[in-house]
Assembly symmetry: C2
Homo-oligomer: 315 residues x 2
């Protein structure tokens, strides 16, 4: 990697994967990836190998999030290195297969870019999820996508955190990028959500093609929301929830939450307020899949990241 | 049953059940019924036995619609009369137990009124579901509820149909009434949906208390939407869907659909129009649980039913 006038040379992108069905009931990605497996014309770009792939086919078949355990938390070094056995949970075996096909994670042979397509029941709109604040290729890509979809909005969630580790399916690639579009109930395909996701994948592939073609992308800043904390529902001693997301907060993903703002409403009508000291920006508010993870929403903080300029290096 | 000045004497109501969890991932009913099992003060009414009851506890435990088969289609005479065996599907065994506890279906010992609480992912608002156009008690009850919630709206769906038979859980009672509130994703509890459902149950119980107390309810007319037909998604020869609900139809439950109106949008962008000759009123548009039933929405026709006046007979 060399820098010249603030522009870093990065290797060309050769292998791209588009994952759908990491959660088998998130229908936009499942449907798009199956469409592209049948006819890839829409996602072909010159000089690029682009592989659409259903990562959790058994969960897709049953239209459920997972069979034994959440595939999108299964790519830990422990899981990937444990000896293969039919007694392992289905998703752990599947993680090992995916790691062989698209990784190995952290190796030079790994796919260059992996997109993983998700839906949320939360009112998050289009959200690109990054795992590193130092991945300048991905920062440039999300900057390109944000400009391409404007005036529509596309938010960037950064999951980089010292303690909260996700071990996602896409993490086997060198540049992992999640795409989360909502609101859409599990098991439902809504045309507006489907077309939003499709457009973002198009812009992302266009970006890669331009990058490979020699276009220089100038240094830029990208506003992101960094995961800071998880907030659980209030619960009783048996673990049953005793309150719902407050109507003033429901569907208000990415809007500021300040000390004293309503957060939960108990079944007997009391309001529970946010008591934190800083302004936070909740996301994944009342996401169906996160009840079992004891998470009513994720708190994030806003920050601006600076991306180096980038240019494909001569091969 | 005797008539005097258009008012029919009907027996007092003594036994009422409120079912939740007939579908284990429809969280408003599950949560309300569990609340009321713990503390029934809110649903107590003088002279009435009111039993809140979770009908499919295994599905609730797993937060899934059902374990083996849809409980809300399981109350057929065949299922209810087949000899009990551990090899029967879980929901068939459960149907037999529920029939013993709250029926037997069609018998004088059956519960008088059974409410069954459901959620839908469709934008249907509050919907009361009746199974018979001749159940004057239920017609008077929905008329009372509609007036009590006004100006908010509460729609009445009539599932009486010569061919489409539902065999619902609530059908073991003498006066079965379904309550369907949406939109709410499966596995999610939204405060607005929860409070709407709670208010309707309150009004329904108030009605029964007034009826038992001797109030005379005058003849009235009730506008209902009668199920006429089911519409499947367009599919290819492998059974995979090839189109989505059109954005102009999505979320437009209960609005008129006329010949030539957009109905589906194919993945390659073509519009499929409604070609029927009559104005219809779709409901359950893009309901998550109905993909497997090959149903994109239900077509209904509007009609007005006339309810006799009713009064509790002297015991």
């Amino acid at each position: 990697m060399t820098t010249c006038h603030g522009v870093v040379n990065l290797p060309e992108v050769r292998k791209v994967a588009i994952f759908g069905g990491t959660h088998g009931n998130e229908m936009s990605g499942v449907t798009l990836v199956n469409l592209w497996i049948n006819n890839g014309a829409e996602i072909q770009r010159s000089g690029l190998t682009i592989k659409p792939f259903i990562t959790n086919p058994q969960a897709v078949e049953k239209c459920t999030r997972y069979i034994d355990t959440d595939l999108n938390r299964a790519f830990t070094q422990d899981n990937l290195s444990v000896p293969r056995s039919e007694e392992l949970p289905y998703e752990v075996r599947r993680a090992q297969e995916i790691n062989q096909m698209f990784g190995p994670k952290g190796s030079p042979e790994a796919y260059d870019v992996i997109f993983d397509l998700h839906n949320t029941t939360s009112n998050m709109g289009c959200t690109l999820i990054l795992e590193s604040s130092k991945d300048h290729f991905n920062l440039q890509m999300v900057n390109y996508i944000k400009r391409a979809v404007a005036p529509a909005s596309c938010t960037v969630l950064l999951t980089e955190h010292p303690l909260l580790q996700y071990s996602t399916t896409r993490s086997v690639g060198k540049h992992p990028i999640g795409l989360e579009v909502g609101p859409q109930p599990q098991g439902v395909l809504r045309s507006n959500i489907f077309e939003s996701m499709r457009a973002i994948v198009k812009h992302a592939l266009d970006f890669i093609e331009l990058f490979n073609g020699g276009m220089e992308f100038q240094p830029c800043t990208v506003d992101v929301y960094r995961v800071s904390e998880k907030m659980d529902y209030p619960r009783d001693t048996n673990g049953n929830i005793t309150a719902m997301v407050h109507p003033n907060l429901q569907d208000c993903d990415w809007e500021p939450l300040n000390r004293g703002d309503p957060m939960f409403q108990t079944f007997d009508g009391r309001t529970i307020e946010y008591e934190g000291g800083h302004t936070v920006y909740p996301a994944f508010i009342n996401e169906a899949a996160y009840y079992e993870k004891h998470q009513a929403f994720t708190l994030t903080r806003r920050e601006s990241l600076t991306a180096n300029g980038i240019k494909a290096s001569e091969m």
